[in-house]
Symmetry: D5
Subunit: 93 residues, 10 copies
């Protein structure tokens, strides 16, 4: 089941550089594990902002909450979730 | 070049049914032609709303405007455009 | 799977009274059929507004869109969808 | 009398972990006591956000304020209250 | 039980003058009946706007919805409801 | 002359408890003195929020600013002022 | 007593030209009468918008409401009222 | 003196096609005359929207209002004006 | 040339009292110098808020930016600028 | 390809003055290098605000993100990106 997610990251500019680097490394690892499992099929940077647009493919709302609240950057993000349905004009790929 | 588009459709409830059917048929044809050309790779319905989330793949901003303003439903839509860049955490498919 | 829905109804004050009565009768029938099927477990009026808060229990986003876009009042409503997950503090009933 | 409540939690990321754990434990205990008393019949997590949707069943506005302002997390929350009335389309369970 | 209500009236400027006069006369009668019953203790005009601030004193949310949705101007108003509790600094009159 | 005031209080959760208690005691004393003088006829808590709705009765805008900016909690509040006029439907008490 | 007023005018583009001319003529006459009486000391056009910023000098909120609701363009305007007090840094002219 | 202008056009979809064509032709002529006079140095289409971003170079606020309110599309536009100053980091061209 | 300015001041409640007093003294001196030069003809306190409405009379946008960014409180303010033109209904004083 | 950018700078008032001076010097150097390369053709200060309006001319969204996220002030800015297309009424310079 597909969910459209927009994540806006608000890291304090005075965050300890080591803590920041560690956070970002763990975020990358976490995100790439989910991508390899096929659960995070789309991930784009919003040009000019510290934000991304994602589409995730998960079993249900509980898995969605578990995946998003487990993001290392979760305490620093605003997240907006939009459930996606099939569009009647979509052609088969 | 990828653009993230959100389109919200506001058709007046009292639109003439024939005009409405004609508009929707032309919208479908227009959209599917662009899909077949590879210019509209993603198209999802926002569940519960008369709206969609799309990702289009076009040469530049002028082609983007030409494609969007040519939509038969363009006069009835609010459109929000977000340019997408590569995300550094994205793995190759 | 549970979805929280807020629906705000905007019927034009000058709508033909018969058309209005017919719309509302069909809305009631549609809503009550879904309630009897267990798909619309909660339905409350927001006090003082022509609006409701609902919780629906459906198979997936596609069924959600089908149910909501099939509402007779759909062309006259603003709808806001929020996916609900289990809360860790919730006790069993 | 039913009230619909949305609570958004804003804990500072640098909150002392022990203080945080203590806060969350007290919040859980407080919430579950009210649930056992039948005063907090519905509690859902908003998927992907540190937020919940609740329905509480209380005697009046004063009890409502007493219950909400007594939440251990109250100083860290934005709370939105919506009074709920019976919906005319609701069928008996 | 006290509720704070803000009502904003949006009458179309081209409303038939007779219909308008009739609406306003019925609104006045309806409002004054509730005032005489002690159910609408405060009613002020917001200076410079076609809007009012009211405090109503009603048994519960269902009576609130019944009272507000029965206003002759209801189809032309935006209504915002805020439940009021006792303030701890309030002295007895 | 009547002014409708909404005050939202934003005390930092980590405020020194003694400073907080002192602030609140001074706020109470200040508010009650104005109530006893008949200048603050209505004061209600907004149920579920650290906020109040007030109606104050003062000579003019300068006295209004003097009264509000003198509130001990003034540096921690958002304040919204709405001038109130007589409503034509109001009956005499 | 001074009030800061912002008025935004929303005349329908298809308003009958004669009705429009009549409205604007009456608005001008009404406004200039108040200016000559010293009740409307400041009146500026917001550059690029069909809107104005005004400062009016009136006895109280009731006169304010009477003056504003009597504007011929009142049914077509959004009006925002802000009470003005003396600024402590203001020097005498 | 430079002003940054954003114009959003809201033409009703059911506008008479001839009236629409006439409006657009006059808008074009009006805009190009100002461009040739050097008063409208920048004019861009916002990609995907019926809107533009402009920079105009005019003598003062009165000329600005005269130019903008004279636009044939003025009754159908929302206009946002932002005065522009020299940026200290700007290099000479 | 006239500009309408709204300034909202956000001084942190825990600002060092001496620094605060110094800031306010410098702000007063700065403002009064401009008033004496005829560049700041109107200055009002917004009743009940730490904010003001001003009208300044300056040569151009560059002088405007220089004047406003030189305010000692500038780093603590939100500023909103609106260019003012002559209103066609304005009578001569 | 042209992008319209609005940047709002939020430097904390208590930033260390040396760090602040260094940031601003690096921002200036960075910006001027891009201007000399022809990649930042327009740069204006928004009069009265710590903000600018820019037009940048870059190869694609990835270069845009690289340029903007490399700004020394990036962690302190809100950035809004709008893709610009050719306007049909634009005359050749």
């Amino acid at each position: 089941m597909l969910y459209h997610i927009r994540m806006d990251v608000n890291l304090p500019p005075d965050l300890d550089p080591e803590e920041r680097a560690d956070l970002l490394a763990r975020e990358k690892e976490y995100s790439q594990k989910l991508q390899r499992e096929g659960k995070w099929p789309h991930l784009w940077r919003i040009a000019g902002e510290y934000a991304n647009v994602s589409v995730v493919d998960l079993a249900d709302h509980d898995e969605l909450h578990s995946v998003l609240s487990g993001l290392p950057l979760f305490p620093y993000m605003n997240i907006e979730v939009t459930p996606l349905a099939v569009h009647p004009n979509k052609i088969n790929g």
